[in-house]
Amino acid sequence: MALIEIKNLNKIYNTIAVPVHAVKDVNLLIDKGEFTAVVGPSGSGKTTLLNIIGGLDKPTDGQVIIDGRDITKLSDSKMVDYRLKNIGFVFQSYNLIPVLTARENIEFIMLLQGENKQKRDERATELLKAVGLGDRIDTRPAMLSGGQQQRVAVARALASKPSFVLADEPTANLDSASAESLLDMMEELNKKYDMTFIFSTHDSRVMKRARRIITLVDGKIADDKKS
């Protein structure tokens, strides 16, 4: 069974003047362990699709079934809990909590899950080491480079041991070296832990690494290639 099954997904933004059909009749299966990039030009619906898969937005119609559960039927509060336990997010602008250190940013997710202090400390340290920031554990985001912040964001996404990670343009704000290094790290995590990564991107560096590329044009799947 696929980890994620998307059936007849549509999203129409009802702008007052003109309705915008952001996602059109998308049907998709994503298996566990995939390293998948959703690509397409600006406005093609990549971010909207990822937001719906991540439960941040509701579809106009259609289903998003994750591990056999249709998440579009969940209430807002249940959806928050579902995201906390099952989905990791990496954002284009890192979006770390600026007043917390790298470790605290990671611990925060586990705190929301109700983990005890010792477990939180151990796992946060382990994750920061895994993303190559073992020496910046107690540093606040403002003192880290963009690449380092994005690594912390990846560690944060993994903190809750999610079923999959959604990464929206994760390399968009990074220089080449940082982007390559981040992708190396994500690829390693994907292989080592069989962690599913789904990117939305138009960065060729990400596309080169992705083992599956789903191309969206005007909200529709125009191409779906596996390497």
Binding site: N51, V80, D81, F89, N95, P98, L100, A157
Partner: protein, 404 residues
Amino acid sequence: MFLILSWRNIWRNKKRTIIVAASVFFAVVLSAIMRSGQLGSYEYMIESSTKMFTGYLQIQDNDYWDKKSLDNSFVMENSFLENVKGKKHITHVTPRLEAFALISSDTITRVAQVVGIHPEYEDELTEISSHLKQGVFLNQNSQGILIGASLAGFLNVAVGDTLTLYGVGYHGTTAAALLPVQGILKMPFKSMDNAMTFIALPKAQEIFSCEKHITSLPVMIDNIANINKVRDALQSELDSTQVIMSWNEMMPDLEQSIEVDNIGGIISLGVLYIVIAFGIFGTIMMMVSERAREFAVLIAVGMRKSRLIIVTALESVILSFLGVITGIIASIPIVQYLVYHPIYMGDEYAEMYESFGIEPIMKFSAQPWIFTSQALTVLIIALITIIYPILYIRKMNIAKQIRG
């Protein structure tokens, strides 16, 4: 960690936090001093007036308040006095027999208020002997009279001279006596100095033909807060012809004046706190709008909106309490200083104070609730200001905010 998060969020913009906390600080200091001054003055006005005139409570004949006549006096046995004195919370009692009479010396006659007093008890309560300028104070067996200095001046008498008292006694009897001036009192207020005379209670009862009678029994208590308890306890000692009146029934002008002034003070404080509330509210609005995306991210990664609201509310409460706690810490020594160093009022207020029979000084009160009520007020303001983030977070479109 939620508390840490709130605390650190507050210090993201140090200048803004310091300005808001400082505005709360000054509001608390100012309002604590204002309130302490107001309440201290009220306590002082009530205590001084009750001590000098009525007592917190007063036992009278049922009809005496409406018709102040010796015919409406009542018999007071010693056992009754001792019973009243022995009640819990009662600190002083002093029986009085009050009447009006003509006082003459040579060809000069004035109307005077004649008060028969138990010298020892009266002095314990009103410290009347401290006003004695010439002569000696009374005792229970004294046959003489004490008179106000102005009255002595009108009558042109000195200690040792004899005054003629002429008036109406109990049930229309003639009250007449020759009384040697035993002492001259410099009373604190003109009205008293012009008209007051004091004689020992047994002598007064003899002159006015009302043995064992008194017109009132003023009662002082340890704390005004106990007034109802004492009133209830005294009620059981009274027969159907007697009544207990409280200070505010006997001095309605004083109570009314305090109420009006108190409302004015509360309105001033209200205005001050409304200004502070808008300051805090503006800060919270800015904090929320600056962090809209961060809020969305927190909800996206699994933080429940209710938890996010708690964190934001904590920020508002902590921010307010920074000002409140430092304000209370700063205002306590200031108020304590003022408690021991009351402010003497200028001439402008002297007349008003004197009209209530008290010295024109502004006293301060250091009751703990003056400070805690400020904390409570600011807490309420902080809680009101969090309505905005609550509504904002509840209605937030996460995907839209993350996209920016």
